[in-house]
Every structure is written in structure tokens, then in C-alpha cells.
Amino acid sequence: MRSAIVDHVIDAAGLVAEVGTSKNGATLLFLGTVRDINDGRPVTGIEYSAYRSMAEREMAAIVGEACERFGTSDVVVEHRLGVLTLGEASVGIAVAHERRAQAYEASRFIIEELKKRVPIWKLEHYVDGTREWVGAGEGSAGGVIDTDANR
């Protein structure tokens, strides 16, 4: 298993190759990509930033939890930072498992936990030249994260 915050283009085929072994019957690749419209506003790109050291720690914890919970060690996750243009991948998750059901569950678990817990932020750039922090208007997210999970 491996996870990393990266500053380069995510090599999707490389992630798949990294988890592939002949004992696995299912290999899944999830890519999160920059979408052209968000909440009705045309987007030109997204700038990703992070509390990098903590983001690395949280991603590693999530991957560890997924491996334990779904019974595989063939998981690799990369999240990219910096300015990304439309269609580029911000996150890549490759999971391989003996069985497809657990591969799907593990992949879903990882992306959902990542979106809840990993300190990464998006500054969306719009066609009209304005920029906005995604989710910043939502106020406190204090109820979302279980602080006990980290103790």
C-alpha cells in the first residue's frame, strides 16, 4: 500500500500497474477530475492546496484502514496539488482485490473518507475571472470529523 501528495501529473496506468498481481481478480482505478461546471458556474481550473504533512498522514491512515477493513494490501492513492486545468486528475485511487465486491467497497471508502478528513482545499477559477474557495461558505465543519478516530 502507498499514498502520496504529489505535484506532478498522476500516472493512471502507473497506479494500476503498481497494484496488479496475479492473485487478484479485480483491479479498479478511480480518477477524480476537474469538471467544467460547478454549481452552475463555468470553471477554467482548480488550484489545490493542503496542510501537506497532515494530509499525507491522514491519507496513509485511510489507506491503512481500507486495507484492514476490506482485506487487501494492494492499494495506492495519489492526490495532486497546484493548478489543474479541465479534465486533469486531482486524485487517483487504484485498488486490487481477489474479489470485485471488496475492491469496489474499498475504492468507495477511500474517496469518501478522503473528502471528509484530508486537509486539502480547492480554489476554483471561473470563466469570469473570479475565484472562490470551495465549501468555505459552509461555516464550521466541526460536526463532520470524529476527533476520537485519531487518538
Partner: protein, 80 residues
């Protein structure tokens, strides 16, 4: 004692800084550090109880701090 407060994304923009050194009472809690932070211009743009991490781990308001602790005030996360 002194603690380092880290600010990110919209919160860094609100306070015009990514890092601050705050003098607080010894064994001050996370909640007390957040109160001290309220004195800074722009802090009114922070929500009433923002998410906080101490030394890279999420922590609750009653967590007591030690000298040199790194207190990060975390805006709503938006990875993926």
C-alpha cells in the same frame, strides 16, 4: 507559553497570514487559543467553532496544549 497557529486557504486569506505565534496561558486549551485568535483583524470571518488539529491530528476544544504545540485551524476540507 507560545503556540504556533497555522492558517490555510480561506482562513489564511481572512487573517492575511499563514502562521502566527500566540502567547497563551500555560496549559491553555484549543478553545482558549481560538479566543485569542479572535482579536486579530479578519478573524470575524471564521466560523464560531472551526475544525482544529493539534500536531497534525484533529482535536476537540477542550484539548490542553503544551508549549510549542502546532495548532492548525482547518477550513472545510474539499479534497478529491
Amino acid at each position: 507559553m507560545t503556540v504556533t497557529v497555522l492558517l490555510f486557504a480561506s482562513y489564511a486569506e481572512a487573517l492575511g497570514a499563514t502562521s502566527l505565534q500566540l502567547d497563551v496561558a500555560s496549559n491553555a486549551t484549543v478553545a482558549e487559543v481560538l479566543s485569542s485568535l479572535r482579536r486579530f483583524p479578519g478573524a470575524e470571518r471564521l466560523p464560531p467553532s472551526p475544525l482544529v488539529a493539534v500536531n497534525e491530528q484533529y482535536a476537540s476544544g477542550d484539548r490542553a496544549l503544551e508549549p510549542g504545540d502546532e495548532v492548525a485551524v482547518i477550513p472545510p476540507v474539499a479534497g478529491g
